[in-house]
């Protein structure tokens, strides 16, 4: 074994400092990464060129491209079309929502890049969190981990496994088939999700108060009315028989349900009807309100609540209409007036749903309340009308990102570019970053999203976190520190039983993948462990497989691409990853070794 050099010690010290800073969080994780980027060349551990190579690396560029593709797909509502049925099956329970989305994401990530699956679903998950009032922190980590675990279901799921057969070739070992790892992968995904279902309460972060202070994102979800959603009802033929006429205003007062669309015979659709519009027999009524109240209304007035929105499908879809929160700006001309006087409904065709006034929510009889500066009014209407209102500048919109026009008409185009990118990767074997960037560019040129929107969708925290850790990996390999550690560990354990050897290889791969990239760890470790296994009379293919799988066991630090991507939006701290990641990592190794033992009888 080669002797320990000064450089090796320096690299190990830098790793220790990085991990230490990740834990104590004196500075944010992405800043730690930038610190590494700068310190390593100063210590002559990497060349200046290598220090910043991360920014142009295949991985980082792929992530930028895939985030843009994800934003494009989300803008056209394509992802929603996948998520909505999943949510419908999941129902209202938080756990079932987590399970359903996790399974979907892990399924998708089993045949495409983990980070791709994770990035594509991020906008949709954020919307689900807002809609169902589930804190984003409770959703993102289980789903992100599932995306990583999903990469172990097939041999093309993650980069280490894709590489594995190539690395086995020089040793003349039999390559693995596409689905050889599937049973192990499925067990890993199942155990990972199970951990969150059973222990989620203990391992997921409880409050995000401190993170809130960073002001990364305002907590909009807290202020939006509880669980309001659009529903469609139908009035029976005898609706108006033997009774006083029922108006839109009556329904609002009686059930606190807002009628946002109504059909007029023969087949007109009226959006945001006025309060005195009568509800007649045999009409479709689109409403917006909490489910409890809508059900109460359906029962009380003898209306039939439809399972899903049918007649107003295009009008009430997320893409064409929705809810925004408007705030009375200082010096607004509307201060001191009431909603009845302003008459938003008739002038702008938007429906005010409630008023937030001095920390209280008012839903009933809001028309007479005198508005003050700072009052917030959630409005429901078509995006077009809301944008008209926004241009008047009497109201500020506190949820501006919602006031973007969705472009459902571009769904086909967006889908086409995704298909092009996937084709380039799978069929023509063009490099990942080039293929994905082609897809992203295609979306921009065909105006699925504008270049500015594309820039905005990319999260710099993610980019620098990943790019900054790449030189650390380079330094570890270049100075020989990695192979020194691997040799040292494997020599120390000496001759042990095959199971023990595989477990040690698993743990070693796990630790390596946390610091070096998973590909780097695989390239470094596979040749090493194959030789070790042959020497210890253990199946070398199994040893290589353990490395290929365990390099996906990257949960304890936010260094895996998926974790880095979700850390910002989920407002996680490194400690959160350590807590949940430790459990998942231990379970991962136990399940992996157990499955290998059961399947291959090592």
């Amino acid at each position: 074994m080669e002797p320990l050099t000064t450089e090796m010690i320096l690299v190990m010290a830098m790793i220790a400092i990085a991990i230490f800073l990740f834990i104590v969080e004196w500075i944010r994780v992405d800043v730690v990464a930038i610190l590494m980027m700068v310190t390593l060349p100063l210590l002559h551990l990497v060349t200046p060129k290598e220090a910043f190579i991360g920014l142009s690396s295949n991985a980082v560029v792929s992530i930028i491209a895939v985030i843009i593709i994800g934003a494009g797909l989300d803008k056209t509502g394509l992802i929603n079309r996948i998520v909505n049925p999943v949510l419908r099956i999941a129902g209202k329970s938080e756990k079932r929502v987590v399970i359903a989305i996790s399974l979907t994401v892990s399924g998708i990530s089993s045949f495409m890049q983990n980070i791709g699956a994770a990035a594509l679903f991020l906008p949709a998950i954020q919307r689900v969190s807002k809609l169902r009032e589930i804190p984003l922190g409770k959703l993102l980590m289980p789903i992100g981990f599932s995306a990583i675990l999903g990469g172990t279901i097939t041999l093309v799921g993650s980069s280490p496994l894709i590489l594995l057969n190539d690395l086995l070739e020089p040793f003349g070992l039999k390559p693995f088939n596409l689905f050889d790892v599937t049973p192990i992968g499925l067990a890993l995904v199942a155990s990972g999700i199970a951990c969150f279902v059973f222990f989620g309460r203990f391992i997921l972060p409880k409050g995000n108060k401190e993170a809130d202070e960073e002001g990364a994102q305002p907590a909009e979800a807290d202020t939006l009315p509880a669980l309001q959603e659009a529903y469609e009802l139908h009035t029976p033929d005898d609706f108006t028989d033997y009774r006083d006429p029922v108006t839109v205003g009556d329904l609002r007062r009686r059930y606190l349900v807002n009628v946002v669309a109504i059909t007029e015979p023969p087949d007109f659709k009226v959006l945001s009807p006025g309060q005195d519009v009568q509800v007649r027999s045999d009409m479709d009524v689109g409403v917006f309100g909490p489910e409890k109240n809508v059900r109460r209304m359906a029962e009380g007035e003898g209306m039939a609540l439809k399972d899903h929105i049918d007649t107003f499908k295009e009008d009430l879809e997320d893409g064409s209409s929705g809810m925004v929160e408007a705030v009375l700006a200082p010096r607004s001309a509307l201060a001191g007036k009431t909603l009845n006087q302003i008459n938003l409904q008739e002038r702008y065709n938007v429906t005010p749903l409630a008023i937030y006034h001095r920390g209280e929510t008012y839903r009933a009889e809001i028309g007479d309340m005198i508005l003050e500066v700072g009052d917030a009014i959630p409005l429901y209407g078509t995006w077009r009308k809301i944008i008209v209102l926004q241009k008047e500048k009497t109201l500020l919109f506190s949820t501006p990102e919602d006031v973007e026009l969705m472009r459902p008409e571009k769904a086909m185009v967006a889908g086409f570019w995704l298909a092009v990118a996937l084709m380039m990767i799978m069929v023509f074997k063009i490099q990942l970053s080039v293929s994905l960037m082609t897809g992203a560019l295609g979306m921009i040129i065909t105006r699925v999203l504008s270049i500015d929107e594309a820039y905005q969708s990319v999260d710099w925290r993610t980019i620098f976190l990943l790019a900054g850790l790449i030189p650390l990996g380079i330094a570890t390999e270049k100075t020989g520190a990695a192979s020194w550690i691997a040799h040292a560990v494997l020599n120390t354990i000496g001759t042990v039983s095959p199971i023990m050897l595989l477990t040690v290889i698993g743990i070693l791969s796990t630790i390596f993948t946390l610091v070096i990239s998973n590909v780097g760890a695989t390239v470094l470790l596979v040749p090493l462990v194959v030789n070790m296994a042959i020497a210890a009379h253990t199946d070398p293919r199994m040893a290589a497989l353990v490395v290929g799988l365990a390099t996906s066991n990257s949960f304890m630090l936010p260094t895996h691409q998926v974790n880095a991507l979700y850390m910002g939006p989920g407002r996680y701290r490194s400690v959160d990853f350590m807590k949940a990641g430790l459990l998942i990592s231990i379970v991962f190794i136990i399940v992996m070794i157990g499955m290998i033992y059961l399947l291959y009888g090592v």
Partner: protein
């Protein structure tokens, strides 16, 4: 079916009419029970309640607002009974306490003064002059009470659907008329009148629970969506908020409860 309120002066045979109507229609006849119920529920001596609903508010009462509180209690007890439907109420001010409910038949029974004096003389064994003085005082008190609290004169016939003078018409005639009127379509309980009654009961209950500490609140309810109107903007705000939170749990049928401050009270608020 219907709710029948019978307003009357003392010794006006109103009670007799009420009981006979109730017997014929198979309704419940209530008057004093309501007082008893209220006094039990809110822990006030029955005597105090009777005085509150009988005498016009004194100067002192106007400061203490205790009269308003007691009336809220009685109203709450009455509306909850009336909620069960099919009742004849011949206590005080039924027509006012159940204001706004469509299926309430409001009846006033009056009797020739001579007959009233005779009844009073017989019951109390007193002289004619004394009896007259007592009756006049009693009538005066009751008129003053209604006027001071509700601004209407109970002798105003436009407050009632039916005013029957027992003189040429006998008690049984009166019973016939009332029963006939009660069976008319207009007094049938409908879905909407049911809701109005339910909402009145909820609003009265909310008001009764609050009136002790917050005498000047007004309450409306529509389909269980309760709004408490208050003049005070900041003062008392926290205390009221806490109390309201408890009410939400305590009172059945509340769907949504909000406090609106600084707005004019709606005319139909309790």
């Amino acid at each position: 079916m219907a709710i029948i309120t019978i307003s009357r002066g003392s010794y006006s045979k109103g009670k007799e009419v009420a009981e006979k109507v109730a017997a014929r229609l198979g309704y419940n006849c209530i008057s004093r029970e309501v007082l008893l119920e209220a006094s039990k529920r809110f822990n006030i001596p029955e005597m105090k309640l009777i005085r509150a609903i009988h005498d016009a508010p004194s100067i002192l009462d106007r400061f203490q607002h205790s009269k308003q509180a007691y009336i809220s209690y009685i109203r709450s007890a009455l509306t909850q009974r009336a909620n069960m439907d099919n009742i004849v109420y011949h206590g005080l001010a039924g027509h006012i306490l159940l204001k706004g409910v469509p299926h309430v038949l409001k009846v006033r029974i009056t009797v020739n003064m001579k007959d009233r004096i005779a009844s009073e003389m017989e019951r109390e064994s007193i002289g004619e002059k004394e009896a007259l003085a007592l009756l006049l005082k009693d009538d005066h008190e009751r008129r003053k009470w209604t006027k001071s609290l509700y601004g209407v004169d109970p002798w105003d016939s436009s407050l009632y659907d039916l005013v029957i003078r027992i003189y040429k018409l006998s008690v049984d005639d009166a019973v016939d008329f009332v029963c006939q009127a009660a069976c008319r379509q207009q007094f049938k309980t409908t879905d909407s009148s049911r809701h109005i009654m339910d909402d009145l009961a909820i609003a009265c209950q909310v008001k009764a629970s609050l009136v002790d500490h917050f005498f000047d609140v007004a309450v409306t309810s529509e389909y269980g969506n309760v709004i408490i109107y208050t003049k005070t903007r900041e003062r008392q705000g926290q205390r009221l908020k806490k109390k309201v939170e408890i009410l939400k749990e305590e009172i059945e049928g509340i769907n949504n409860l909000e406090v609106h401050a600084g707005l004019p009270y709606p005319p139909d608020a309790v």
